[in-house]
Amino acid sequence: MRPSVQEMIARSNGKKNKKAIEKIIPILLFLIASVSVLTSIGIVVTLIVETITFFTRVPFFDFIFGTTWLPFSNKDAQFGILPLIVGTLKVTLIATIVAVPIGISAAIYLSEYASENVRRILKPVLEVLAGVPTIVYGFFALTFVTPILQSVFPEIKIFNAISPGIVVGIMIIPMIASLSEDAMSSVPKSIREGALAMGSTKFEVAWKITVPAALSGIIASVVLAVSRAIGETMIVSLAAGSTPRFDGDFTGSIQTMTAYIVQVSKGDAGFGTTIYYSIYAVGFTLFVFTMVMNILAGYVSKRFREEY
């Protein structure tokens, strides 16, 4: 006759040290969870420390108000970041013009019109489009979109703001479409049915009921997508060129903040040179831009969330 289960349990519990495990595990997991916090702190501290070093060599006001970015000149290097910001904004502007109407329309179609079968095809298409590496988009901009643009508008140069702008736009369409669709899908069916029962057409329901009700989510999706566009690196590095300029020309070579960081990293900027520190100053500026956008998106979707 074997001992009772309870006896066996009592015996094996005497051996093991369950209690110690239960005490150690939460501490261990807390340490793991704090890696993400340490990462954020690491990013902020790294950027700030190196940027401060940069400002010991380049005056702060020359940096943020300067309209000439000429870092590689031996004699009179100038670090006015405005040309890089303008370059970033040019690309972002075109991307937004391309992506916002298409993304929101696609969201409306998917949430209001598409049958289950159509959705089953289109949603994965958006997912795949979102999963294409940016280097592939960059290649596409340089070797396909730019030549086509040039054949229509001969004044466009090989490096320009328009082609990468369009392609960055294509890249962020899935983001706007799927986040906006989430917002629209969470508008209760009963509200739509109420409007349909009064004789509204489907378009009127979409435009006057669903879109306004989901507006905070839609705006948040656009803001997040714009933030993505600002931080996009490879498309602009390949197709936008490396000419920082402070003007309104979209057809010629420009340079964005991200592309500058890549340009310096590719080359051999010696550790400790002003150029080396300048990528942190530019990175910090970029970081501030995207953080402001992300916080804004979070604020919009929280503050203006509709109560159903």
Binding site: Q6, M8, I9, N13
Partner: protein, 269 residues
């Protein structure tokens, strides 16, 4: 039905003096945040009996049951005062590990909740986590538990199938078998038949009758007929208080409190 109950009570009254209490609850109070869910509960629950806890929704009957194995503490913001003695030891004592308590006190839940594992692994889960690894002993425990839950014949050829492949009623008996596998002293049942069809319900009720030979059973039910059919003692809860606690046939045939009478005659609840 009444005759069955009378028969049962007569046999029990003979043994009653020899029986010991498994649970003694003294002045138990429980709060969910500021909501006073249990008020000054005093109850003594005897071994090898079926004790039913009845009462309308929100009366605290499930809360009380979950306090008996301290599952209620999984809800944040729960506070308790008073004491519950299990076999003479206060379960709220600092050095009383909940795991130890729950190894002695098994639980069967409202909805069948087998793990998404094979039937065998479901039953062997308890012994395994408590350190029993020997395959032969596990085989033995699994068979014994499934027989104990009267489901061995139905599942013996499909022990390696996922527990979700069988019917809801069978799943609930698997859950009972799972609780039996660690040979507990007490089995707590929280409305175990509320999600089952009438035939499965009957099987579980028969099983409860069978199990009380070896286990003390405390069952929460919203079904008064069920309480009358299967329990030896019944406690009536209302608004977090014990209104009446007595032999089941006394509660149902001759309640002393007006509110008990109103409830069992269906005037509210």
């Amino acid at each position: 039905m009444t005759t069955i109950i009378t028969e049962k009570t007569t046999t029990e009254e003979v043994n009653d003096s020899a029986k010991k209490a498994v649970y003694e609850t003294n002045q138990l109070n429980l709060w969910y945040g500021s909501n006073h869910a249990l008020k000054n509960i005093d109850l003594e629950i005897m071994e090898n009996e079926v004790t039913a806890i009845i009462g309308p929704s929100g009366c605290g009957k499930s809360t009380y049951l979950k306090t008996l194995n301290r599952m209620v503490e999984l809800v944040p913001s729960v506070k308790t005062s008073g004491e519950i003695l299990y076999r003479g030891r206060n379960i709220f004592d600092h050095d009383y590990g909940v795991e130890e308590l729950r190894t002695r006190v098994g639980m069967v839940f409202q909805k069948p909740n087998p793990f998404p594992k094979s039937i065998y692994d479901n039953i062997a889960y308890g012994p395994r986590i408590h350190g029993i690894k020997n395959k032969k002993i596990l085989d033995e425990i699994v068979e014994k538990s499934l027989r104990g839950a009267a489901i061995w014949e139905e599942v013996k050829d499909r022990l390696n199938e996922n527990a979700y492949s069988i019917s809801g009623g069978q799943q609930q008996r698997i859950c009972i078998a799972r609780a039996l596998a660690i040979e507990p002293d007490v089995i707590l049942m929280d409305e175990p038949t509320s999600a089952l069809d009438p035939i499965s319900t009957l099987k579980v009720e028969e099983l409860v009758q069978e199990l009380k030979k070896d286990y003390s059973i405390i069952i929460v039910t919203h079904n008064m007929q069920q309480a009358a059919r299967i329990s030896d003692k019944t406690a009536f809860f209302l608004n977090g208080e014990v209104i009446e606690y007595d032999q089941t046939d006394t509660i149902f045939s001759n309640p002393s409190d007006k509110r008990t009478e109103d409830y069992i005659s269906g005037r509210f609840g």
